[in-house]
């Protein structure tokens, strides 16, 4: 680990991606993530990096460039914000179907439609329930801090490689725009990366049969077989890759459930509630898919109430209800429009509910 440096969220993720071994970036400017694209525009051509930066003509083109570069099995990445991520859904479905390792960043802003450019968490459904067509999943990480975002960026490339799957870092606009000190890990050694030469498109050199990469199979039995393979992969991911944080939950009567920067704010709320003598903890999913249902369900046996807080009209709360499964009440508080609720605001809502 190097020394701590002050970094902006979008730029920290970009630098982490470069250090994780990404040398192919295709993107399209959109607020509030354009600094990530701009950082890559500066960084990729540097001599010691010698990577590819290309500004596409649209998010539609960008995601298809990711598809193409992904077909070669090299580490690829794009970043966007909500309206742009909607445009990428077609490509995401193809990428999931063709099983191409790739990393996406969605710095979420207020929606729907053009919405605004303030922070939001209103793309949770799209990210975790499949925004494109067909039965597919993305691995979705929701970091709460820049340090965690940096570490999850590294992890995203490894998971993408390990499972041949697209991975999404779902960062709200707050995380993208904030500045705080981070420590960057050392550069990955490309020799340590997964060997994709068995399936990737790199030219046959007349030494092997052609590698065909696609999500296409006109034979229903063949396509179902492919779907079984996807589902088996997703089952393994559910089994092995769930991440979450429990904060002061051991003795908690009340559990606030929140992810991303809201998870961080929830911790302040829990601390303040404890100062008032209310035993409160926080459950923070880090993987939004796979959602940590079972660990959350366990808390339902000993806690009295769950309180989901989001910068949305209520999306993740549906997964909380699935996990709690009617055992205890699940309450919700959310702000929309790109408004970040303050700890005091959440606390007073919380006090009303208990």
């Amino acid at each position: 680990m190097a020394e701590k440096v002050m970094a902006k969220g979008t730029e920290a993720i970009a630098e982490a991606a470069v250090r994780a071994g990404c040398r192919l970036y295709f993107g399209y400017p959109i607020t509030p993530q354009s600094e990530l694209t701009e950082y890559m525009a500066r960084r990729m051509p540097e001599k010691d990096i010698n990577g590819v930066f290309l500004q596409a003509e649209s998010e539609v083109a960008a995601v298809n460039m990711i598809y193409g570069a992904g077909c070669t099995g090299h580490r690829v990445m794009t970043s966007t914000s909500s309206p742009g991520f909607s445009l990428m859904q077609e490509g995401m479905s193809y990428i999931a179907g063709a099983e191409l390792p790739s990393v996406f960043v969605n710095v979420v802003r207020g929606g729907p439609g053009l919405g605004d450019i303030q922070p939001g968490q209103c793309d949770y459904f799209q990210a975790t329930k499949g925004g494109g067509h067909g039965d597919y999943r993305l691995v979705v990480y929701g970091p709460e801090s820049l340090q965690e975002a940096v570490e999850l960026t590294f992890k995203s490339f490894d998971i993408a490689d390990k499972y041949r799957t697209p991975v999404l870092i779902l960062a709200d606009g707050l995380l993208g725009q904030m500045m705080e000190p981070v420590e960057f890990p050392e550069f990955n050694d490309p020799k340590s990366f997964a060997d994709h030469s068995g399936w990737a498109m790199r030219g046959t050199d007349m030494k092997r049969k052609p590698n065909l990469v696609s999500s296409f199979n006109i034979d229903p039995n063949g396509l179902e077989e492919m779907n079984h393979r996807y589902q088996e992969k997703y089952r393994k991911i559910v089994e092995n890759e769930q991440m979450f944080e429990e904060y002061m939950t051991e003795d908690a009567d009340y559990i606030i459930v929140a992810y991303g920067t809201m998870g961080r704010i929830a911790k302040s709320v829990a601390k303040e509630a404890r100062e008032k003598g209310i035993k409160t903890g926080v459950f923070r999913p880090i993987t939004l898919w796979p959602f940590p249902y079972e660990p959350l369900a366990k808390l339902a046996d000993k806690s009295k109430m769950f309180f989901a807080v989001e910068m949305s009209a209520g999306q993740m709360v549906e997964d909380v209800r699935l996990a709690v499964n009617g055992k205890k009440p699940v309450e919700f508080y959310g702000r929309t429009g790109g408004i970040v609720p303050t700890p005091n605001e959440i606390l007073s809502k919380f006090m009303e509910l208990i």
Partner: protein, 251 residues
Amino acid sequence: MPYIDKMKGPHALSGKEFTYCPGCHHGIIHRLVAEVIDELGIEGQTMMVAPVGCSVFAYEFFNVDGTVAAHGRAPAVATGIKRAMPDKVVFTYQGDGDLAAIGTAEIIHAANRGEKLTSIFVNNAIYGMTGGQMAPTTLVGMKTTTSPYGRKIENEGQPIHVAEVIKELRGVAYLERTKVDTPQDVIKTKAAIKKAFMAQINGLGFGMVEILSTCPTNWGLSPVESLKWLEENMVPEFPLGVFVDKVGDAK
């Protein structure tokens, strides 16, 4: 009897039977691309991107690494491949629905950037796979399943002339419109395809050949009648010729 092969299917084809209707020109064009790959000795370095449309299976017909893009996105996919592996040869194979309707943004920007790609553009003035609907290149008055009374200028506008649009873009290194309805035209088209590949191999920029071809099934004509229809109707609308040539004559 000591006979030797004079003309034989190229090595760069996988040998799998084409899925096209009888008389469809896709098969001729596939063979020409494969012959060019053979002659340039680039089979092991070449990768292709198939479109959505009748040639959606095209990546199974060649002896090269391949994929199939979302409808219209082949030039963006090919860009991603080429940028990742700039020493390789990458081509897209696209029909008029794919390239000239849903994929206009992708083809224009790939051409404009001067991507070192080759695009084989097959123009038969109709959507084949979906069942004979109107394409952007459908002729005025031509009846299709979605222009049952004939294409009308007031309603659908006039056929798009792709080569004439692309020729204005400065990243283009080779651009020609040909046809494949006679053996002589087949020979000319092969030469054009070769130059469109040379454009990327020599690092000059984007190469494209627009090839007028038939769709006997959806035109409602026999394969042989279709040749005449192409000659009499498509050629006057889509003039043949070389639009851009920065490749020059082969040594």
